[in-house]
Symmetry: D2
């Protein structure tokens, strides 16, 4: 894994930020270029490195403001684009980017492209928005994105033409896995053309599934709102005789939302996520488990991530959405019908209530902790861009903000480790079986 | 610094938890005793250790369930006590402790002491509560603590007498700095008497100021609710001509709540915390700054932590509260009066609105992320106690749950580093001066 | 219409309530039996009555505590049953009933039947719950009903047998139209058997559709939570190019929730309710309207009540649910598919997001105003029952709590008047057409 | 009492609103000028009128759109001013006024005066804001008022000069008792000068204390948020031994907020309001009551309205605020100190927590039901103004929107009737004594 960050060239301009290079003067400091945080922080890894006399363990560059920057703020044109599905916090990121670039660096030209990458394609006919402090001041109180969004890739050449034509030298691409692939393609085309345009990614995935990034914005807000659905499911289930509450949550490839929401509202009795296969029938299957649970407690609450149990569905829909995401079969509706039928066949009178809160979740404004996270994330993205770095996204690792090469970040998805701490805590909280077969 | 954890004796009983010792079987694993996480995770520290050929860098033991435990669950009597001021999440911790000990370890006797350490003193006459799953099932939806709380230390000998007399062999002490000092004293008296009683601390400080612990429960909920007060202050300030909104937040020694709340609701123009001295008068003083801000923008929002600017007050009240905390002078009211007078003297017509939301904050139920944190924290506390560890508290470091010796944790307070990342981000968000003199 | 209230017999026992019969002594007063509030409060109606020399205009008996009561509280056994779908506020009503009967009247035996009318049928095997102040103290913070609920009628004779056998002389039936019909049947069977058992209904319909009752509890909470879904739909719609947000809300026969929610969050562009027929096709149809709206504004938000446009569906499912409610076809999903197809056929690229928040709404706890309403409603229900009234429910009319004969209340449904003030205000708020054909 | 409404002249222009004059055509109707709603709706009052052969009982004109209007919308200049303390819902009212006037009547010039009546005084130097649909579209999600506010009267002549000079022919004055007095003075000066300018008041009092108006906007939001403080007080009180929670709520002259909040969160044990005198000492005094309550239940929650018990304070501050409101002594702090001292003197160890949430409450955005109310209120204000009515405010009576002459509305304050239904319900909910001496 190569965690080095591409740069456009040497940073020679003194940063306008009023920070210190002196430790002990009670003034916050610039970050040095050689400050790095270790990838593996276990003592065991340290000892292995020592033994192997490996030159250096894997580490990330720390994010933060640099004493010297690459771009001249007074001449710089910046672009911002938001792509993919909605996610709490996009407006917070936009607002903080604008505030940081405007007030601290003195950048005066920040252009917002409308409706995702489509906004860079002239034929789509979307306007460009001037992102000023006045415009963005209050947007963090609203969900969604003031720039609008869309799914799907666009022609890379046309997009780079657009940037070049508009004189944009620094592009912030706020989006998920697909967006970061798109941004990487733009970066590579820029490199091929030998242009001096920086592309900085800001990872936005409500599912929290970007590799090498510990936490993405919007994820906490998402599972926090999801617990409203879980509470509802629990009230419905426990207020009926043999009540079953079934909640479908987001999580196409990774079960983070389902897993964390189920622990945050610990009335959940079973969580199903894409990472852990499960069976419906048989002695250790879900139906048998549910039957026993109803016998013992007269109600049950089940949370299922949208990507769970895809092998049980007959082929999903077979298609893909405009972002290229494989269309998933609806495991929530499938389970609803299957459980109803299975319990009916066993003659168990019951009531099942099914809740799918997805759109209410993704369009919500960021909660305070996400808001805090977005502010710092955007500040660090601005710092990285101004320093001339490119082809990277801003991440978090072991609680430290880092620079992550786009190439490595999009190489695969981050998933819940079935043998790790999070999933173990879920099993202890729900009391569900570790294996279903 | 000695980060080794005391133990009562060898753990010889096989844990009843259904976890795996095999990596790769898709079943969550026990944590091994030699799993440790590094204290300093910078690459620089790694290189220094290498150079110095220092035997091993400083590291924390990882928290988590062990394959072998010390106590026989069927015979174990557990005690739980909650002390000090209210804090969101105490009930979540109690609930999860009880659920983990009852359902996973099979402990049947869990006693809750009422009203803090006073509940261990016979003369106070408080009842003991049986903490059963039925009793605790719904308590996490309510703020406060079902056990009640009180401030202040009690006679250590009497408390150990009480534990011994009741046959309690494992005590969980949920509380802040003072409580952990008390728990340490109990642990030391137990050690002196050569009793086999484990004392496990669960750090509870809404101010997030416990040394060697990255984050404490309730803190996020606290600054999240605090932003309601900040929003109110901003609306009041910006709806009046020369409006000033002044919000006093918690933070006796450490400004974490003020700093994070001000970033999470970024309409704050100035944050004052105990770690950063400030002047009122003079060219770089607060009043001058405020005057310029009003000239430029016609309104201002100021957040002040309760422990800030104590040097400006005439000696506070000079006393201490029952927990031994030094009574602070009220910097909020002081600033309110001082600013009003100073602006009046300068002939600046203005309106100042002062908000102190403290009690509304500390009595709230935990928000979802805090709730999630409390569940895992309590699980790990239960694991630590069952394994025979003692004189320790459960912490978080670089996002990993750890064991922290009480002795080291209470040695000093954690404070906001004026030269660190958090405070730098605050300065960038508010635009306030780095220094006031 | 006969608005007289049946009574079991003369009220001869002096009420234990410490109220006054004297006006002007600054102590709250008992309500007199001849206090009545007019049904039609227009001046025009007054003049018509005058002209016609009609003996008396139609009026309701006012609810409230009477100086003399019928039942001896010390000997009275009370029953409480909750039926039908969940609705915010049921627990508040139960709590206040118990508190009023226990603390103010001194009733010591209050039995809660589990799972609706089924709880009165021995063969169903449900336990009876002792409703004490301790049990109900905190229940108003949780949604649902501590008694559980179920749909569907039960054998009237068996239910009266049960009441008689248990010695219950006062039954509170909390439920909607179907429940009140059931309660009326119980009342009539009691009358036929010449038993002295009072049956008091407390109208519970989230749809607010009970005749002669201005407002039912839970309704305000329902439309208040519904606006979260509307906000989500608006964010989704306005963040996409040609975005359409479609929200399905409750309202089988009456569009109150849809109408009020759409005004409370006035970003709604069109509301469809059962009372107003609409067309899909044609020059004045919904599709044409939507097309124009998208041309003009690039997004649209539509709210549809579940009972709207049933004539457009192919026969619904033809069945009924256990409460005898006709099964409705799903107008929400129908519209989603129809709009998508129609816009696709016209070649209009668009994005439609569909939200159905029903279960999250109905299982929520009551909001403060509903909570306030539930307290007073339950107090007045207790007063009515203690006074020996029967076969009635407690209502609200022109903002005054009233007694309503069950017979009249269940005669038909209350619906939104297409020519009345509420619907006119909706039309002004949304700007939608008054007619669709 | 004279409930007739002044008019500027005959309404001769056909309204552009697409409403019907035909009953039965399923299209919402215009309101006729002779539609009136009775002031006293009791049957007793009806009978008295009959007996007295009184010509007509007292009645209000119904609000609503008229078929003919007075002003030509295309030429009309409208002014909007917001005065006094903040209150939830002001922005909702402004938004709906603008939307109604712009989209339905076609008015194109709507001017917003900044910072209250001061905005009409040239010397104050405040700008005038163009209130367009674009500007107001999202303001209802934020508390406060986009126009800003200020307290205090201004020179009436100068204000009328301003209106005349700017060509404003219709002024909406959103504010409380003082504002409506100011608006009445403006109306009277206009009448004296024989100008054709309509002045329409929209009553805004968070205390809900305007005579002849059943409910004012913001009031429900206020008591709804107040219950957060009550919950906090209850948690604090019940989590300490002999804990006392004391909450000060708004209510200078009228205890509506305190009374309703205490019922909506029924853990309150005692409510003190301006309308009911109370004693501190003596056998029936508050201290004695509190002592008994603590003996029995170990905690107590007290809610006090800011205007309660003013006779107990030594003369308040003797002054008035800029609006002419008498400065009240702080009964909350007084009670805090008095109770602490009194219990200390009796040797009762206790903990008292005092909460004053005022500014958090008044700066909040309107809750959904208030939002709904604001929409309809503003629509009706627009209708009244366009019809040429003047010197009136829009009210609500027996749940019907009405026109109320300013003169009658400001004649005295509305207060809680100590012998009425609301206060009786409070007494039943808290169980507190009806009298304190």
């Amino acid at each position: 894994m190569d965690l080095n960050i591409p740069v456009l060239g040497p940073a020679k301009i003194r940063s306008p930020l009023k920070l210190s290079t002196v430790i002990g003067d009670m003034v916050a400091n610039f970050v040095l270029d050689d400050e790095r945080v270790m990838y593996d922080i276990s003592l065991k890894h340290y000892m292995e490195c020592m033994e192997n006399r490996q030159e250096l363990p894997l580490s990330f560059e720390r994010a933060g403001p640099r004493e010297f920057i690459y771009f001249d703020p007074s001449k710089l044109h910046v672009g911002v684009v938001t792509c993919g599905g909605l996610c709490p916090g996009i407006n917070n990121v936009i607002r903080s980017l604008v505030m940081e670039l405007h007030y601290h660096y003195g950048v005066r030209k920040i252009h917002g492209f409308k409706f995702g990458f489509a906004g860079l394609i002239p034929d789509e006919g979307h306007d460009v928005v001037d992102l000023t402090p006045e415009l963005v001041r209050g947007i963090h109180h609203e969900g969604g994105t003031v720039l609008g969004s869309s799914r799907g890739p666009q022609d890379v050449g046309e997009m780079v033409d657009c940037l070049d034509r508009m004189g944009i030298r620094l592009l912030f691409a706020i989006g998920g896995d697909g967006t970061q692939r798109g941004a990487l393609a733009i970066h590579e085309e820029i490199t091929r053309r030998e242009l001096k345009i920086s592309v900085i990614g800001i990872p936005k995935t409500i599912d929290n599934d970007i590799q090498l990034v510990e936490k993405t914005f919007g994820f906490e807000t998402a599972f926090s709102i999801a617990i409203e659905a879980i509470r509802a499911a629990h009230v419905e289930a426990s207020n009926a005789h043999n009540g079953v509450g079934l909640v479908r949550l987001m999580g196409r490839h990774s079960g983070y939302i389902a897993a964390t929401a189920a622990m945050a509202e610990p009335d959940v009795n079973c969580v199903l996520i894409p990472e852990i296969p499960f069976e419906l029938e048989g002695e250790r299957g879900l139906i048998q488990w549910l039957e026993k649970r109803l016998q013992r407690r007269k109600h049950a609450v089940i949370v299922v991530a949208e990507g769970a149990g895809q092998d049980l569905l007959e082929h999903g829909t077979g298609g893909t959405d405009p972002s290229g995401n494989r269309s998933l079969g609806d495991i929530g509706l499938f389970l609803k019908h299957h459980i109803n039928r299975a319990l009916d066949e066993k003659g168990i009178k019951h009531t099942l209530k099914y809740i799918d809160p997805s759109y209410i979740i993704r369009s919500a404004p960021a909660n305070p902790n996400d808001s805090l996270f977005c502010v710092t994330l955007a500040q660090n993205a601005a710092h990285a861009g101004m320093s001339g770095r490119t082809g990277m996204l801003v991440g978090l690792w072991n609680n430290v903000f880092t620079h992550v090469p786009m190439k490595e970040a999009v190489a695969k998805r981050k998933i819940v480790d079935p043998e790790g701490d999070l999933w173990r805590a879920v099993l202890e909280s729900t009391g569900q079986p570790a294996k279903w077969s």
